[in-house]
Symmetry: none
Subunit: 307 residues, 2 copies
DNA sequence: GTCATGCGTGAAAGTTATTTCCGGGATTCG
DNA sequence: CGAATCCCGGAAATAACTTTCACGCATGAC
């Protein structure tokens, strides 16, 4: 399959020119005849624009003929105009992406929607990278082990963090573990009392000082359960009662972008890693459980309208 | 002189896709027919190689016909194969200069936990980039406008998507909008009946064929509300009843990494963009509302032990 | 079970773009 | 001043790309 593609590449013994096109034009300019220079100039001046033109178009633009355009392309080292055009497109794309990464700015009130999308995506990507880099894999491994062996897993989180807790519980349940996310602080405490050594309790709080998440964790800690804190502040109060602390990244926030947004991204990554870790350990039972739940849902989807 | 170049550019009103090609292929793959998939696969798999091929060449390589190649190019949003090829050349040049080729290795059962973290983070970053690239900002803008002006906003989603819906509702409520996420399909339909023109209904479903999310949207549609679908399958049944469709990226999934995971990342980005868009429009009221809710929560945090 | 319908598909015709060829005309050197 | 050279663009020839059309397969209806 791919070998035929490779053949084509090996066939062309002289790889034309990647980005050194402007330089080549300048070097060869004296060699060129008058009309060729016109073409070369146009090409070097606006690669993107020229890439959009056909031979005829470029000939008209420069006030020359198709033949001259082709001759110029040859002189620049390409087999023909077609290949020059391809290289031009590549060049255009490169310098397009080159000026792109200036999206580090904060999201402003008057940003057009397209900028919002770009900036937000960039920010979240950054958050993910930070989280992955800062995550203690030893701690994570320990939590995975504890969770895999646990009789039951209780998860505490309120506000935005509650959704992350629910997500984790949902996934763990899917592979046959007994997990429950408590969003009501009172019920959380009530349930925490039931825990005993070997059970796992997980508190999710970005600030690390959300009383409603700390309190049930403290109770679980006192009952001898293995306790875990997922927080952006490893030095915050919640860590006092945590056997293991998993740190989420504290990304910059702005007026329009509350901390809840990036902390959620970060928390979800941690939770996903935890889940996959557990799924690996319990693969024998997890895999069938996953496909079983998939099958069970199949009939709730209307028949595909296309194949 | 140069004006003819500009004309050509202004003429093409919708510049197709710069680097979002792989994403587009993945999003549209399910829509495609068998032989189109072959072509799309080849193109996504080896952009540089395919850029060097003519229509006939690519047709032979994939064992299909020229017509199919052209059809695929059209589906991907280009006027014809010529333009796809140009874009391909650009893409090739970009990833040539860009550092990371793509370490898309699947997560394996026996991967050490550190690898899991790295791969997962990378995958999610990819998902974010794909989603941002593939998101129709015009549609998004329209949805933002509708949401800003809406008397009430109802959100439907079940399963993993329900959490995304809850997240959106939570955030919109925070800036003073009347938003409600329904996770119970029966109650959702019951509530959808109450909607009227000017209201907004949003259905979140990755597959686009989840009956429990479609049904309330259909009801809302019939009542004259502005309806929105957030789905990974823009051609799925849910779009029938949607005035606006926001497409999430369909990332690759593996046995250990169910689709729910990456679709959630994608959905959250869309939802975040929507939220920020609305927050921008309603800045006068949103900003104070955000700080007010922050203040209100302050007393629920134990005193910070660090600054 | 049979027929009708629609859709995916590739072969081939048709169109456009690219390359090659050729002769006019300008420049320069003898 | 004349002749040789070579640049240059028009137009034919070729290659690439696009469109059309008809066949065959599958799906659903009767």
């Amino acid at each position: 399959m791919t070998q035929s593609v490779k053949e084509i590449f090996s066939g062309g013994d002289a790889p034309p020119a990647p980005a050194a096109l402007a330089a080549k034009v300048r070097t060869l300019a004296p060699t060129m005849t008058r009309s060729m220079q016109l073409v070369a100039e146009a090409v070097a001046g606006d690669p993107a624009g020229c890439a959009a033109l056909t031979v005829t178009g470029l000939a008209e633009l420069t006030g020359t003929s198709e033949a001259t355009v082709v001759r110029t392309a040859r002189l620049l080292g390409y087999p023909g105009y077609r290949d020059l055009r391809l290289a031009l497109a590549g060049l255009a794309a490169q310098q397009e992406s080159g000026r792109a990464p200036a999206v580090t700015a904060d999201i402003a009130v008057d940003d057009p929607i397209a900028d919002v999308v770009a900036k937000l995506a960039y920010d979240e990507q950054q958050t993910l990278a930070d989280t992955a880099a800062g995550l203690d894999t030893v701690q994570l491994g320990a939590v995975v082990s504890a969770a895999t062996a646990a009789r039951r897993i209780d998860i505490y989180g309120v506000g935005a963090s509650s959704l992350v807790g629910l997500d984790l519980a949902q996934k763990l349940l899917r592979i046959g573990l007994i997990a429950h996310a408590h969003t009501d602080p009172h019920l959380a405490v009530t349930n925490a009392v039931q825990l005993r050594p070997g059970d796992v309790a997980i508190a999710i709080t970005h600030s690390g000082s959300t009383g409603d998440a700390i309190e049930p964790l403290r109770v679980a800690f006192d009952r001898g359960a293995t306790t875990v804190a997922i927080t952006g502040r490893p030095d915050a109060p919640v860590s006092q009662y945590a056997d293991h602390v998993l740190t989420t990244s504290t990304a910059r926030e702005s007026e329009l972008r509350p901390a809840a947004m990036s902390s959620r991204t970060s928390q979800l990554l941690v939770v996903d890693c935890l889940f996959i870790g557990v799924a690996q350990r319990t693969y024998e039972t997890a895999a069938p459980a996953l496909s079983a739940s998939y099958e069970a849902l199949a009939h709730r989807h209307s028949p595909r309208n296309t194949r």
